[in-house]
């Protein structure tokens, strides 16, 4: 890829179980205040720990509010020249579930409220976007959306992009991950010897991405994609696909491994993911940059995770603070640099990893422009 323009995150907004705005989210990450709670509503007799939004408004009204916040923070008058890129794994699945469970009939289901496009349709009713596109690659959906934003802006094809990562909880996701036996009844413990699974959760994360930096902007320096070509739900055991995505992101950003100060790991807390990701990090990064996983605080927000963790990575750079891994007691892999304490150090570049079903891998690199 021949890069032309530099690309910047200029305005962001988020809502998750760990906070109804970015500041609360990051404060909770710094203090280790989790938004994950046990919940028995979603599936039969099971009580997995999950992360639910704590908002008065509906999910779709909240979605509109978050995009409005980004617009108000920006220097744009409107979104008329903005490409909207959605990243979501379930779209309107909860709406479909509610109707079907109630009536056991397809007749009352509106197809346009079911598919992934429902999110873009909802926003198009309120804002006037230049165009929209929706990505759905399971848990890498919004990471891929940011990657695509980087591509189209660096190639000079659009003026600016609004990336929206959005996924709501549904019985499909909670019950589905339960069926795979990977949900923990407690806040997850990424990379810990005692890890016993993940927490699914919901979130909305919005990022305005432009080619002209504003005060406080964070640069999107590169993206790397790969596929495991191995298994639908299990990563390659030694993390070869993750390694390749991280390596490609470094190459695209014209950086070396030594430039990376912090890796925001995918770190779900499952046996398979954490083991493979840790091996990939150890193999690629000889200088042992700090590694952290925030899903013990936010849960795994599925298709929204890439966007939410891009915001967290941006705040790590902006605040120059690397959060502690609060849930960590004893790391399985002692060769990765997981810190138990807040690190106050100079941070130039942060890598953020997202991995998904089907062996879909996406690594993003963010940089400090101060």
């Amino acid at each position: 890829m021949k890069t032309k323009n530099r690309v910047y995150i200029t305005s962001t907004s988020s809502v998750s179980c760990a906070g109804n705005n970015n500041q609360i989210l990051f404060q909770n990450i710094l203090t280790g205040t989790t938004g994950i709670k046990q919940d028995c509503k979603y599936f039969f007799n099971a009580t997995p720990a999950i992360g639910k939004l704590d908002t008065q408004a509906t999910f779709f009204d909240t979605l509109i509010l978050e995009c409005q916040k980004v617009l108000e923070q920006s220097q744009l008058e409107n979104y008329k020249k903005t490409l909207l890129i959605i990243g979501s794994s379930v779209g309107g699945m909860k709406t479909t579930e509610d109707i079907y469970i109630d009536t056991k009939e397809y007749a009352n289901i509106n197809p346009d409220k079911h598919h992934i496009q429902v999110i873009a349709n909802c926003l198009n009713e309120v804002f006037d976007f230049y165009d929209d596109i929706s990505f759905s690659t399971a848990c890498t959906s919004s990471a891929n959306a940011i990657g695509y934003a980087y591509e189209v802006l660096s190639k000079g094809l659009y003026e600016n992009v609004l990336v929206v990562g959005a996924d709501s909880l549904s019985q499909t996701t909670v019950g589905g991950f339960l069926s795979l036996g990977v949900l923990s009844p407690n806040p997850c413990k990424p990379f810990d010897e005692a890890r016993d699974g993940m927490n699914v959760s919901e979130a909305i994360a919005c990022l305005l991405i432009e080619t002209v930096p504003k005060e406080g902007s964070i640069e999107v320096c590169g993206v790397g994609y790969s596929s495991d070509a191995y298994h639908m739900t299990h990563p390659k055991p030694k993390g070869e696909g993750a390694y390749k995505a991280m390596e490609k992101a470094l190459k695209e950003a014209n950086l070396t491994t030594y430039d990376i100060d912090y890796i925001n790991a995918h770190g779900t807390g499952t046996e398979a993911n954490d083991s493979a990701e840790a091996d990939a990090i150890v193999s690629l990064f000889p200088h042992k940059p700090y590694v952290g996983a925030t899903k013990s605080i936010t849960g795994h927000t599925l298709g929204a995770a890439g966007a939410l963790e891009a915001i967290i990575s941006s705040m790590v750079i902006d605040k120059q603070m690397i959060p502690a891994n609060h849930a960590l007691e004893s790391a399985t892999n002692k060769e990765i640099n997981l810190t138990n304490e807040l690190q106050d150090k100079k941070i130039h570049y942060v890598m953020s990893n997202s991995f998904a079903f089907g062996g879909n891998n996406c690594s993003l690199i963010f940089g400090n422009i101060k």
Partner: protein
């Protein structure tokens, strides 16, 4: 408005009123255990990628409704208060079809999945065009698999329930020879597939086929 020209190197499509039965899947996927796990969309994708002679490289895939049969099975399980099948769950994500395709072909390149409602095929074309600027050959693929019990109560997508279109493309500087059209010339075609289907219908094996994609 920016435009990018693509050469359609090879193209293929397949459809059926209910279930496509020409997929040659036993030959393409000899291992029975692997074959049994494949979704309908995965089988169509494997068939079409073979038709256009594409095994490794970047793929842009699209589907408006994704893996509807797996989704319907999950919905029924939830409604009946039964456990969800792990296989149905892992097969319910929108990127299932090309994930199986990548596993089969040991293709470790970038795979992206788009679900943009009626604009799905058009957005696959646009994304493919953006990616083709990097200089490689890509597979653009779109499928819909709507053949579930009771679909007639909710189907607004067209008369035929299974559709798949594949375009093998690369960047071109030649003048366009094909016209982009989303006109509904054939009511059997789901809207989400139409933009690529209409291109495929125009392609001539004895000529260079070029399409201009407007972003």
């Amino acid at each position: 408005m920016t435009s990018i020209r693509l050469e359609i190197i090879e193209s293929a499509f397949v459809y059926a009123p209910q279930e496509i039965d020409v997929l040659n899947i036993k030959n393409l996927v000899p291992k029975m255990m692997t074959r049994r796990r494949l979704t309908r969309a995965a089988k169509i994708s494997i068939y079409l990628s073979n038709e256009v002679s594409f095994d490794k490289g970047r793929i842009v895939y699209g589907s408006s409704f994704g893996e509807l049969p797996a989704t319907a099975s999950i919905l029924n399980a939830i409604s009946d208060k039964e456990p969800i099948s792990p296989t149905h769950f892992q097969n319910s994500v929108y990127n299932t079809a090309i994930s199986y395709l990548s596993i089969l072909n040991k293709n470790e390149e970038e795979l992206i999945t788009i679900s943009s409602g009626d604009k799905t095929a058009l957005n696959v074309l646009k994304t493919g065009a953006v990616k083709a600027l990097d200089g490689d050959t890509l597979l653009l693929l779109v499928t819909e698999t709507l053949n579930i019990e009771g679909i007639e109560k909710v189907n607004t997508c067209g008369q035929y329930l299974e559709y798949g279109v594949a375009l093998k493309v690369r960047l071109s500087n030649e003048k366009p020879t094909l016209k982009y059209s989303d006109v509904d010339e054939d009511s059997t075609v789901p809207n989400s597939v139409r933009a690529m289907y209409n291109i495929t219908k125009q392609c001539r094996r004895d000529k260079v086929n070029i399409i201009e994609v407007q972003l």
